[in-house]
Amino acid sequence: MIGRKASTLGLGMLLAVAACGGGTTATNSPATGQNIGGSVNLWAEWSSSEQQAFKAALVPFTTQTGVTVNYTSKGSTISTALGSAIQGGAPPDVALVPDPGTVQTLAKQGSIKDLTSIVGSLSANYGDAWNQLVTANGKLYGVWFKGANKNTIWYNPAEFAAAGITTPPTTWEQVISDAATLKASGIAPFSLCTDIGWPVADFWQNIYLKTAGATAYNSLSTHATKWTDPTVTAAFTTFGQLVGQPSNLLGGLNGSLSNAYPACVDKVFPKSGASPQAAMVFEGDFVANEVKANSANYAPGTTGTGGAACSIDPAKTPCYNFFDFPAPAANSANQGAVQGAGDVAIMLKDTPQSEALVKYLAGPTGASIWATAGGFTSPNKTVPSSAYPDPVTQKDAQALVNATSFVFSLDDLQGTWEPMMWTDMLNFLKNPSNVTAIQATMDAQATAGLGH
């Protein structure tokens, strides 16, 4: 045993010497093989099955470096928990937070460490759009690990085929015309998720992004652009082309209002024994998990299992697929803009162990393991496409990696008036003609909530 340990150590040191020669500039690979032992305290929001997948992703790290990872799941309250822990003087070493706003705030407070000297500029690992979000004062503070694409409209390929739609829409206008075709074929075009309003906000945000562009989107996020701006009105008008026609939505207005997530997904991708009631549903890529949970029969893509045609009956060979949220034809320049979310690693205590972990998270190994397990996409360019288990996830990841601009969910950046924004979106749904009053209300709420 001792002999083995010594030889591993020796091998490790050899490799470390070899790797260290690369200096501290942009690196694609972690400091492999440097067996430093010790432990690192890590917080993230993942629990149950996601936690298991994450832990599996960290196994090579522990094997290579001998560092024990003490992982604590903090659930969705991680940002507040982190704030309290920092105030109380007992933060973890590394944390994965789900919004870049927290990163910026903590960076300005001085509570997290500058990572530039540890991982470099990471320009080879992530697109500019991603790195910008976690850079403050020219310094890099975060390493992206997990990404979520909210730019996806999921559709039931069998229903599309039954309506004679051979290719999914690529412009917003095609979405509207396909909706009419779907109605003619006898199925409701959209199952609109409402809940307390966040899916409606996500939908509208995508429309705003695709019509006004990423720069305007970011400007609206910080309220530099007012909610009474004409671009906002244009987005509402475009949104109204779809939701202003209750026949486009399953169950009309009341049906939509009682449509919570994930029940709205089950209307398009039902469990065995039921049949689909709508053809499309909008929400982020986490919809795929719900679909697969409904039945193992669902095949990703446009072909059923074993190459059979997609069937409407979920007991046979149903399929699921998505198309990128399309921009109106006139705004095709914005097609590559992606709205999404993600988890970014930040370092609160600078130890050799936490540095090694951060470097590992910047590399392809950990992300690839979770990618293969499913339910995970990463904006990391070094993660090979082959790591993803099916064509739908691959397409999803590609959209993240190739995004010409990436914006974070606008509503999550609105702080205290976020729930009011969600209610306003629901109010628009209930009365689309009331858009001017709603815009005025939103602007007043934004001013009050954001302080400017």
């Binding site: 629990s47 149950s48 799941s73 903090k74 659930g75 309250t77 991680i78 928990a81 309290s84 109380g88 003087g89 919570a260 997530y261 994930p262 029940a263 089950d266 039902p270 469990k271 065995s272 024994g273 039921a274 986490f286 998990n289 719900e290």
Partner: protein, 313 residues
Amino acid sequence: MSAVSPATKPVSPPTKPVTLERRSLLGAIRPSRAILNIVLVASAVFWLVPTIGLAIISLRPESLFQQSGWWTALTAPAQLTLSNYQTLFSQGLVTGGVLDSLITSLEITVPATLLVTIISSLTAYSLVFGRWPGRSVVFLVIVGLLVVPIQVALIPVVQEYRAFGSLTGFNPFGTIPGVVIFHVAFGLPFGIFLMYNFYSGIPKEMLEAGRIDGAGEWQLFRRVALPLGLPAAASLMIFQFIWVWNDLLVALIFLGSNPHYTLTIFLFNQTRTLAANYWIISTGAMISIFIPLIVFFSFQRYFVRGVLAGAVK
């Protein structure tokens, strides 16, 4: 039997034993027996429908949920199955699962109930049989605290827990003791009130004899007051148990990011997070009402007594 409802002025006891022949308050407005029974049977059926519906939903396979209503099972009982329960129980003690939540609920409810009963008895004893000045004022304060809503205490207690944590290193926030402490504090006014009323009915002479013999307060409490007070303590325990078992708000806040849930939080999550499957909700709800139902039916008398005794919660 001592004081039952101090909130109402004592009325002279009925001189006739209560029988069915007693003249009804409706007097000559005598609905026929048949109509009366029909109305009340209809009411009883109406009252049972939701519970029975829930039970049946939990016994049907989930795929049937959206296709046909649970009432169809009444004419086609073959569709009933225990598969939902099997699935939930087969998860075992996984954190966040229904069994783990059941245990967490127990871990909170049992200590809270015991502590409230013991401390209420002690405090009530002191208020009734003590001779220190200011007893009546303290009792009035406690009566005043009876209806104070927990909302006024939530934020300061979070702050207090945090301060305690920075002083001693143990922050009760997010832990089971943190929840228990809060429940005990808010169960005390009612508990003390209940025990006070009961102890007031104990003749002081019984303790006097003991005191003259030289017995200390603790001995008097243990040997005289406590055994005599058992019926009221039983009522209090049952009432407290069910109250804490069914609580959502305190657990939501003070158990917070703790990976373990109470049963109520477990149910609440099913409606809020991404995993709202109705088979979990109905089965979990049935499991969550199972224990209170047992407690209720076993100790019905005591529970009702507890409810009657002021019941201003």
